[in-house]
């Protein structure tokens, strides 16, 4: 039974209580539900977390922005082609600190999702993000990015306008900024489309968010030729926040309330805000060139391999 089925069962039980009128019985059943909930929601599999990360009522980026920032002014367009609504960008303040905010925005309803293209950006989205981040560099504002995307949009027009180039450019330019950059994965961190906003001094992840090279479905299709093995794929892909922290890919996990972020939005936002502020106060102590070098060095060291010292073959020794 996965997390969504458990959720449905809990809802069923809760709706049944309302039909009762015996106070004693209601109290007893409520306690039972609570203990069931505790048990059901505390031992999550990787697949459960995938489902939570994609959950219908999971808070989206704009909700985070509305709660966490004192003010936010959205800015549109990449100045080259058009405004991509799957990426929201703008300026604002968090506890009085001026920042630039870039976020991938999912929709709540089908209509919203069509407008936001299911948070799958086109090249112009990444170019808008880059434009705003370059402004942040100019005006010495820290950059905060919220990541929540299944991936960059794999469409005909996206290719025509250079999806690969747009992502590559972001990766390179983000590495070189001399202002603090904090990236937070709030839902799905899908592949290069997520990384294109994720080259940061500190990468944070919500507890039940995921970050991976491709979707578990895609992984199962490519390696096992069977998309139905997605839940098994999620288990081996190491895409949960805990796995990634262990591997040193992310710096910090932000705690979510029991059952996922949507059970207590305010608590989630509060935790996230606290984490951002703590990281920010550390980062602003660093000199501009230190911020840049630290970021490049951080990414320089990612990799999982071994090396022999081949003296006799004339390779470069370091």
């Amino acid at each position: 039974m996965d997390i969504l089925q458990k959720e449905r069962k809990l809802k069923e039980l809760q709706s049944k209580i309302e039909e009762l009128d015996n106070v004693e019985l209601i109290k007893k059943i409520k306690e039972e539900i609570e203990s069931y909930k505790n048990e059901a929601m505390s031992n999550l599999t990787a697949w459960d977390r995938v489902l939570l990360a994609r959950h219908q009522s999971r808070p989206t980026a704009l909700e985070y922005i509305k709660y966490m920032f004192d003010e936010f002014i959205e800015l549109h367009g990449d100045r080259l082609y058009r405004d991509d609504k799957s990426i929201v960008g703008g300026i604002g303040t968090i506890n009085g600190i001026n920042v630039t905010i870039i976020a991938q925005q999912k929709g709540k309803t089908l209509e919203e999702n069509l407008e936001r293209n299911f948070a799958m950006p086109h090249p112009e989205g990444y170019r808008k993000a880059l434009r705003l981040m370059k402004q942040a560099e100019k005006f010495r504002r820290p950059i905060i990015t919220l990541i929540d995307t299944p991936g960059a949009y794999p469409g005909l027009e996206a290719e025509e306008r250079g999806q690969g180039e747009a992502i590559a450019r972001n990766l390179m330019e983000m590495a070189g900024f001399t202002v603090p950059v904090i990236a937070i994965v709030i839902g799905e961190g899908g592949s290069g489309g997520a990384l294109a906003l994720g080259v940061a001094n500190k990468v944070l992840m919500l507890e039940n968010s995921i970050y991976s090279i491709l979707s578990p479905e895609g992984y199962a299709t490519i390696l096992w030729k069977d998309a139905t093995l997605a839940s098994k794929a999620a288990g081996v892909m190491k895409l949960t926040s805990f796995d990634l922290e262990e591997y040193g890919i992310i710096d910090r996990i932000i705690k979510e309330p029991l059952g996922g972020a949507h059970y207590n939005r305010e608590e989630t936002f509060k935790n996230t805000k606290r984490a951002i502020l703590e990281e920010l106060t550390e980062l602003v102590k660093l000199q501009p060139f230190e911020l840049r070098e630290a970021r490049i060095d951080k990414y320089r060291n990612y990799g999982f391999f071994q090396r022999f010292n081949y003296d006799n073959l004339g390779g470069v020794k370091r």
């Binding site: 290719e159 690969g164 990766l171 590495a175 290069g192 994720g198 970050y211 081996v236 391999f305």
Partner: protein, 294 residues
């Protein structure tokens, strides 16, 4: 003796010294180009029977239709650098299995045997018509040329070597993208290699990226698209998403020539499409124009 003459003379001397150093070390030109099994094979493009020996002499290009066949990394180096000048760097890397993927090690070992290289990327020092540079080549015969930790590390090292030697770098890309078997580590190689390009670029050094068939996924979305100058071989498939994924997404067949080198040139993402026969000359001319005398 004026200043530029002096610089020329110094450079000549430096080159001679380098050449002396280089020829003592292992080089690939002693090896014969490995001929495919059959002497006569059918061209996948025009379906004509082609003499493979002639094709090799023609730089792996079909005599009938001009189709550019895929080239192994070692052959590419033979086609590109001056004989006797190539010195391979960055040897001795061992691919590991971070996700404990079943059968991954065996697969890697099988490819090692088959392709005679350690991983899908080799690099080193080389000269093109006398112009020194660092040259890196991806090999699409090695697990689709996919970029895992070792490929990402070696690409990064090749840029660092170019920085250390203050040399321009040329990279021939041929890759299916990031290597799924290594999961998130492969993804991180995109950021790592892009940052390496930045450091090289910061020093005012030249990076030429040559996109060959096929260059897709995480490689297109990182160092391949970041060259100061980007060349491509005719009819090479270049893109971020694979054609099949796009067809599934938009639910229609793609137009003829979509994501091919000529298409990218038309859309403005490639500086020039250059046939293989003229590639070396063009590269060496570009290197010469970027030569620095200080």
């Amino acid at each position: 003796m004026n200043l530029s003459n002096l610089a020329n003379a110094l450079n000549q001397r430096k080159k001679q010294k380098q050449k002396f150093k280089v020829t003592r070390k292992r080089n690939y030109t002693d090896k014969s180009i490995d001929v495919p099994k059959g002497l006569y094979e059918q061209c996948p493009c025009c379906k004509e029977t082609v003499n493979m020996k002639q094709t090799l002499e023609n730089k792996f290009v079909c005599k009938h239709c001009g189709e550019h066949f895929k080239v192994r990394a070692i052959d590419r180096i033979n086609l590109t650098v001056d004989p006797g000048t190539f010195v391979e760097k960055g040897l001795g890397y061992i691919t590991l299995n971070p996700l404990f993927n079943e059968g991954y090690e065996e697969k890697i070992n099988a490819y090692k045997e088959k392709t005679n290289i350690d991983e899908a990327y080799i690099y080193g020092y080389g000269e093109l018509n006398g112009n020194p540079c660092v040259i890196g080549v991806m090999d699409s015969y090695f697990l689709m040329g996919s970029m895992g930790s070792v490929v990402g590390e070696k690409v990064t090292r090749s840029f660092e070597y170019a920085i250390y030697k203050k040399l321009p770098i040329i990279i021939f890309t041929a890759s299916g993208g990031a290597r799924m078997q290594e999961g998130i580590f492969s993804l991180m190689q995109m950021a790592k290699t892009s940052a390496a390009v930045l450091r090289h670029s910061d020093l005012g050094l030249l990076y030429i990226s040559v996109l060959t068939h096929p260059t897709t996924g995480g490689v297109t979305a990182s160092f391949a698209s970041l060259g100061d100058i980007i060349f491509a071989e005719p009819n090479a498939l270049i893109g971020f998403a694979g054609p099949r994924v796009i067809e599934q997404t938009i639910n229609q067949t793609l137009p003829e020539g979509f994501q091919r080198a000529e298409f990218l040139e038309e859309k403005g993402f490639v500086d020039r499409v250059i046939p293989r026969s003229e590639l070396k000359l063009t590269l060496s001319r570009v290197l010469r124009i970027h030569r620095r005398y200080n």
